[in-house]
Amino acid sequence: MTEPKQIHLAAHFPGVNNTTVWSDPEAGSHIEFSSFVKLAQTAERAKFDFFFLAEGLRLREQNGLIYDLDVVGRPDTFTVLSALAAVTERLGLAGTINSTFNEPLEVARQFASLDHLSAGRAAWNVVTSWDAFTGENFRRGGFLPQDQRYSRAETFLRTAWELFDSWRGDEVVADKASGRFLSDAHAGAFSHHDRHFTIDGRFPVPRGPQGRPVTIQAGDSDEGREFAAATADAIFSRYGTLETGQPFYRDVKGRLKKYGRTPDQLVIMPAATFALGDSDADAHEKAHEVRLQQVSEQTAIKFLEQLWNTDLSEHDPNGPLPDFDPVVGEDLISKGRASVRMYRDPLATAKEWRQLAEAKNLTAREVVIEVTGRQTFIGSPTTVATAINDLVQNDAADGFILVPHVTPGGLDEFADTVVPLLQDRGVFRTEYAGTTLRDHLGLSQP
């Protein structure tokens, strides 16, 4: 009998979206460091693989005004992760850093620094770009055409890798007696010339404990999957069910061979939310309450505006969906938000939603609750542990990145109830086997 697959788990400190229920009496600060410490230490206590921070570089707007219904504001990713390295020992520390509003040497230097300062726990979620809207906060603006997104991101990542690899790892000998600090006076030399970057010099950070920080991607288009297959150590996917997860898993893992890689060199982790209860019925009730908190009447209208691409402030959230079609064309209403682009055909999506409303007799708000962000795992701890394990054992995923809806205590119950069940089944670690994030993910050092 073959050993069961080992599950990988990560904790996402939730960012600025309506998943996060800030109005919950248990909700704490999203800025104070103590909140980050609390969630990270819970994740480490539960032996999670890593802690993850997303990024957003401009406050979102809707109808030309700063969006005020969700959590607004977040601290700097690198700075938080470096500080968390001081209050955790084994937990991986992953951050999203985009490749558009940074330069390769700067980002490589920061990640290499983080890898040293955390003794080998750094991970980089590489994202490509945002729009000109976000670019207005940066020197170079939003200059990058859509068709160059992957090209620049890929080049950026490969350039950063050249910088990480410019040190072999054995150059620092620091031999006081002989006076030799370096075994190679030219350590760190690099020269990179392509259409995006022309740089050469010496990389200032000697090789970190992981060689290169762990690389994470979230690409879903054909180009994105190919890029991930070629370069990533882990993928954040959107496919948290058996039906959607298995085809994605097969597809992406199937692309590895042509890059000389094996399936265990890429860990696939969908983002997942959860609602736990003493019984499955309790959990479903709780899940519904959370959804009502997440999608208030105002949030429902704002969400509909994003699809309809027009002002719906006079629309009744407790009445039917708008009876006219969405405005097609440039995003007029919502800026700085990625999720809107998921609805590539707003007319067809609106039609689907109307059909759903009719079939189930739903109000506009109920439709939004139905079509957005339903919890991935709902049930008693046993039900949830079984569901997670089934998905992993059946190759729909290698693990999950969990997004609690309350910050910072929202992971406690999962850590205390679900994790022990997974450990009892022998599918999740009871102690960290190694010290670096690569160790946790079963990845070799490049």
């Binding site: 800030w22 109005s23 800025i31 460091f33 410490v37 957003g56 570089l57 401009r58 406050l59 700063i66 005020d68 219904l69 969700d70 607004v72 504001g73 601290p75 700097d76 690198f78 700075t79 938080v80 470096s82 500080a83 390295a85 001081a86 509003f101 940074n102 330069e103 040497l105 700067e106 230097r109 920061q110 620094s113 983080l114 040293h116 300062l117 003794a119 207005e136 906060n137 940066f138 020197r139 620092v172 006081k176 006076g179 030799r180 600090f181 370096l182 075994s183 190679d184 006076a185 760190g188 970057f197 740089i199 050469d200 010099g201 010496r202 990389f203 200032p204 950070v205 208030s296 105002q298």
Partner: protein, 373 residues
């Protein structure tokens, strides 16, 4: 004791002398580890020093003044200074943390939120020193621009600091309202576009990070001449200067903006035994194969002799001193365990921290928000 100088220590590698890493107490193989930096900062905090600084460059080099050379006999390699400061922040509680940031090649939006975040993590102990890039290697590492002349770089740096400050103020202190009744997390009337338009960059704002605990973390600049004094006057709260002697102190004091807190930089080699520090420096010079010199005055002597000098220069109008230890940890512990007790014995240094924040320690009140009505 109100009258004594403030004291800061400038941490750099194994110390400021190029041969410092070969000293018996040096830990050259640990320069890239968190433990090394934590130990140094905790040592400084135990002596109640006002703040520590962390040097930085965006290239591989050890000597800020000379041309870059491929050398295997000196310390090479360094970590990002903001990340070092952040890494030690949770393990300290009172000492100020002032990393260096190179502003010529980086984004003010990124640095603004990084320093704001350091201020949150440290509970109001963050500062930042802005440094322009003068070295060709840094330009080649970025490949974006040609080295510019100093005047232009300083003008750009002044714009950069203006953006930092506007971004820190772009959230009013009470912008987060969490009003459950109306469903609003923030009051958007208290978030402000900064709309900075300058020659080198434009930045829209607001910041993604709320206003930091200090409102405006102190901004520092190292200055050696009139143009740099002008940048400091335009943009900074404190300036590090490099007088050679007491007369020089008075001259510099007259040349810099009177609102600035002025810290004299000194490289220090200390030993309790008279003459021993000079001997040690001479020995290090021998090892390095060249006499050590610096942009700052190089002091060798006993802690008591250094106390004499500090009190004399302080009387000439300095806020305090940023001591650069010649060798770490020896010259740091000579400061914390020799100089500090010496100054305390003369009633010229605190026994404990008075103010909780770095601004408070510098005598800078928490500023009003420029955007608040």
């Amino acid at each position: 004791m109100a009258g004594g100088p403030l004291l800061a220590v400038a941490l750099e590698g194994a110390g400021w002398h190029p041969a410092a890493w070969r000293e018996p107490a040096a830990r050259p193989a640990e320069l890239l580890t968190a433990g090394y930096w934590t130990d140094l900062v905790q040592e400084a905090e135990a002596a109640k020093l006002d703040f520590v600084t962390f040097e930085d460059f965006l290239s591989l080099r050890t000597d800020a003044r000379g041309p870059f050379e491929d050398r295997a006999d000196v310390v090479q390699g360094r970590l990002d200074a903001v990340l070092i400061a952040s890494r030690v922040a949770p393990l300290t509680s009172r000492i100020g943390l002032v990393p260096t940031a190179v502003v010529t090649h980086t984004e003010p939006f990124h640095l603004s939120k990084a320093i704001a975040t350091l201020d949150y993590i440290s509970g109001g102990r963050a500062g930042v020193r802005v440094q322009v890039s003068r070295h060709e290697e840094e330009y080649r590492n970025f490949g974006r621009r040609e080295p510019a002349d100093a005047a232009e770089l300083f003008d750009e740096a002044a714009d950069y600091v203006e953006v930092l400050r506007r971004l820190w103020d772009s959230w009013e202190d009470d912008a987060e309202i969490r009003d459950v009744a109306t469903g609003r997390f923030v009051d958007r009337e208290k978030l402000h576009y900064i709309d900075f338009e300058g020659r080198w960059f434009s930045v829209k704002g607001p910041s993604i990070t709320p206003r930091p605990p200090q409102g405006q973390p102190p901004v520092a600049a190292l200055a050696h001449n009139d143009r740099a004094y002008r940048l400091a006057g335009q943009a900074a709260d404190l300036v590090y200067v490099t007088p050679r002697d007491r007369a020089d102190v008075a001259k510099i004091r007259a040349a810099v903006d009177e609102r600035l807190r002025v810290f004299a930089d000194l490289v220090v080699f200390l030993d309790d035994k008279p003459g021993a520090a000079a001997d040690r420096k001479a020995r290090l010079d021998d090892v390095a194969g060249a006499e050590y010199s610096s942009d700052a005055h190089v002091f060798t002597g006993t802690p008591a002799e250094l106390a004499d000098l500090l009190l004399d220069w302080h009387a000439a109008g300095l806020t305090g001193f940023r001591l650069r230890p010649g060798a770490l940890p020896d010259d740091l512990t000579a400061v914390t365990r020799g100089l500090v007790p010496e100054l305390r014995g003369r009633g010229a240094f605190r026994h404990d921290y008075a103010a909780a924040t770095l601004r408070g320690r510098l005598g800078l009140p928490r500023p009003a928000n420029r955007y608040a009505a």
